[in-house]
Subunit: 345 residues, 4 copies
């Protein structure tokens, strides 16, 4: 009953097996290997257009590299106030961009509110030398609170952003979970909705350590190879990262794994909603639940061996506190049911 995070899970067997499969013999290093070359083709098929692909080992690296490709040092990156890039990466976007500023925006369920974006852009008028200049918008899909943007919601934000000349990044640390919910093609969910560049996550959904910056606009890709090397993120034995991503995409494994994690969250959320005195803050659309539980239920759960993180929210008090529950590709139905039994008391 470990619901602390999807990155507490190990690796999917198919992905672990891929490492052994590519291990034999010698290979060209630094991404010039056959596995990595093949991976670019695979991603281009998946996204139904030619894309540039930069595998890395963390979501923070993917995000920071992607944002640095979009913003000059005097630029501003518009993001949700809960965005991982703003709150949980210890300033990585600032480091990689040479000191750009992240502008936090409000919005329910960690979806950026279009009006908030418009207001923030208006406060940073173009060409006024005293202010940092808006250069990029970043969206998280699924969001930091487990919700999912529809393509129309994305398009509405993209339209505002493009009206000011911004490029748009998607933090897809949990992109598979969002896609499994949306039921759209990867293309529809990204570049067809206006995304220029994305961080494509696999680690939280079954890889050991594999993410990729996917660039839909080739003009943005030019410098990324140098930026990645310079940041220490070009692996010499790159085949071992590319092989994880290849296995992840093979035969739809990624979507199966995500669908399972989502289903586990769905079962857990349904069970919690049926309990008295619990509040789901956000409708769970991916693999995360933010729920306020009675403190005695929390105590009971911890005593029973359930693991999860507290997640303080306004409205919490001595009687009831919010916690985050995350399911993964590894989560078992029996764990969900055991948790619900404990929660019910």
């Amino acid at each position: 009953m470990d619901f602390t995070s999807d990155n507490a899970a190990g690796a999917a067997p198919e992905i672990l097996a891929a490492l052994s499969r590519v291990n034999a013999g010698t290979e060209a290093s630094y991404g010039n290997d056959a596995v990595t070359v093949g991976l670019v083709r695979r991603f281009s098929e998946v996204f139904e257009r030619e894309v540039a692909v930069y595998p890395v080992v963390t979501g923070t690296a993917a995000n920071a590299l992607a944002l640095a490709a979009l913003t000059p040092p005097h630029g501003a990156v518009m993001c949700h106030e809960l965005a991982h890039v703003h709150v949980d990466e210890c300033g990585a976007p600032e480091m990689f961009s040479g000191g750009a500023k992240l502008v936090p925006l409000s919005g329910a369920s960690a979806r950026i509110e279009p009006a908030a974006l418009e207001a923030a852009l208006a406060a940073l008028p173009a060409g006024v030398v005293h202010h940092v200049q808006p250069a990029a918008l970043t969206l998280t899909q699924s969001t930091e609170l487990g919700a999912v943007y529809t393509p129309d919601e994305i398009r509405a934000l993209v339209e505002i952003a493009r009206g000011r000349g911004l490029r748009v990044h998607m933090d897809g640390a949990r992109f598979a979970n969002a896609l499994a919910t949306l039921g759209l093609s990867p293309a529809e969910a990204t570049w067809k909705a206006g995304i220029d560049i994305m961080s494509f996550g696999a680690t939280k959904n079954g890889a050991l350590a594999a993410e990729a910056v996917i660039v839909f606009d080739p003009a943005l890709a030019r410098d990324l190879a140098f930026r990645r090397k310079r940041a220490g993120h070009l692996l010499s034995k790159m085949r071992f990262v590319s092989a994880q991503l290849e296995a992840y995409l093979e035969d739809g494994l990624w979507l199966r794994l995500a669908a399972h994690a989502n289903a586990m969250t769905g079962r857990l959320a349904a069970g919690l909603a049926a309990l008295p005195d619990t509040t789901l803050h956000v409708e769970p659309q991916a693999n995360e639940i933010f729920v306020r539980l009675q403190t005695n239920a929390i105590a009971r759960l911890r005593k029973g061996g359930a693991r999860f993180h507290p997640w303080p929210m306004p409205g919490d008090d001595a009687q009831a506190r919010t916690v985050r529950l995350v399911t993964s590709f590894q989560s078992q139905q029996s764990e969900i049911d055991a948790f619900l039994t404990l929660a019910a008391g």
Copy 2:
């Protein structure tokens, strides 16, 4: 017959197996897992003192993080003119340090010449605000030309460096190869000779992607956790990097692998030295050979399927060119012998 690089090799079976061994169940993420905690103890035993350990996935990351811990943005890092940090990392130390300057020094066999270090320090007097201020010295062990520093040679450089208040870093991308040659304890080869911090390499010697910043002086370690996270080098499923390092250190695997690679280089070098019209530029002391071969021998080797990189050196001409030959833990005696047969013509 692939002698292009030791990172063209795959992973040692023992290290690959370790990934499966730590895969079961959930684990605390971001380095709070039991494997990583155990790894710190292991490294402390290996180095016979308490050390701080920061696993990462590339040597460039390890070097850039370590140097950034030693130098302010207005500092200078003294290094050999062939140093990987200066020539082959696309400016990573500059990025991580906020723009410090690398000062290239001369020296045979890619060992820094003490007189060159003294002269360079004299040219950057302390407290003169116009000049960047020497803050760190970095040595590569084994060197970029396959030589090995003795502890006395290191101590001589350390003494000069400390006289000006510099801290000393060792780039140990091939530290195991150097140690296998020196026959010293890890402690004798590093902190007992005056090293403050090192990049401990494993990738070139059998890991998939595993290096570690090892900090001998705890005062230097304070900020490294933040620097690593901020650079996108704190892996969420850290156990998969730590497990590689654990397996690498287990029962002396690392030294056995390195001794094999060195022995292969020794056999190859001996064979080449016996051929007419070949010049070994540097006495091979680790797992790299820099040798000038007749161009018709080079053509014959390539035709026969041997792979290696050209490595232009002063004195090369139309008749004879220098190439680099690198052996690894995977190299086979049969490959060496086949290569020598082809070279002999």
Copy 3:
């Protein structure tokens, strides 16, 4: 009738004259001149303790240098959401600090609310590697809305800041105006209230281009000489900046100039308050007024030749809009009276 800004004014005659006075002959360059050396003594007298002094030519430079001395790249600088460093310096603190994050805090009259500081600090817990680490607090005195902190208000914020190990910076672009209002000694208004380092402004109050970073804690000063040089802010003919500051401090000129500017604001504010349908948003305590005027009064003023900037505030509408009015050492009573006559209609 130019109330656009105090930096629209020229230079005070005493300060302009000082440039000619130090022009004769040759002098040591880069701040080793007698004028600059004397200036350090003068500032030490003014602040009743030994201080380090780094003259520069802009407030942005002074602020960015001072903050960079307080925060590592992975640090956070707590500031008011209207702070000049956050809003009006195009990311200079981010550039100089290597990418630290500014955390905007709320508070009436552009004074930081202690509870807002506490909440923001609590959201960035010490030692959690995912979050930037609070390193500095910066206060603006007088504030961006023309109010003045009392020493007790400062001490309350300092106490919270120090409780988390932060150092405290004062942006004193209009420090003289604040001091003229407070009636305190410079020492009481700064280091005796807990300020570690300040940007001491003179440009807005009669200098051509002269500010200084004043360091009350010598331990913070060590690297500033290098940081200033590296940022291109060490002037070769430094005597021409130092002479401005010397003249500024001579015989209390700075406080006389500021008292005049404040008196002009007082007269203007009193006149405006007596008019119907005007709203002073903040009680003017220095040399700035933020006032909502009827739009027909605004039109009348502009037609009559008055110059000032619009300053949109919540509550503005088609009938009434907020403008900013700034007086300077040059402002004339006749201008004030003419403005009030026009405003009255």
Copy 4:
């Protein structure tokens, strides 16, 4: 008899007077004033084409801003090994560019040797991700050793640079001195010879603190306004810098001042050359002399009140040491003659 530096001099009376002339009344701030607007026109006339002009107060700022406009963080700036940007600016180009690398090149008289440029470019092949990518070439005119490039010498370097896609910067801290020697138009000496951007110096030649980045290629200018602000180099009362430059250009003052300084150097050099046992290292073509003098002559000069800096050069010994002698617009013929008399003994 102060020959330490041309920045030990004060300001030319015409330039000092200009400050008073623009002081009256209020003016738009941050460079939107009439003086600055007029200055752009003036510079466009001087250079016979439309140029963008960014006044700043130090040569270090001008150089660092200009180079940052030419190179990405992973870029390399090719420069002479004695270049001020490399040796004397405490890493400012590294700071402003986000960590680009300066590549020092050899060449007599501090002129870059074309073969050295070609070799350095060949060592950093385009597109190889391990190496920083050459992005800019910077030349100093007059050079750090007081020599002057001819337009043909510049063109030869420009041709090599452009062949690799580099842009070319001129550090014109002593541009007026070079021009006075060359007898060319400013256009011929710069953009007509292939210069894309320059640092136009005035401080060493009679201004208090005034330099300008002049951009010949408008495409390069786009971001400079933000870069300057962000670096704290946009002065609020900009008219006081622009007025210095305006007066400097007025009626050819700049060239008259430089011609005088050069003539003083010429007289001094001729006198020194006539003395026994003195060696002029470089033919003085501007306002600097690098001369080896007998140590007893040096002692005699110092005793007689002459001031100058030692400038150690290879070949110096106990009998004879090299010193640098710099003349300025203020230097007097009587000082020269007194110096020569003392030197002659």
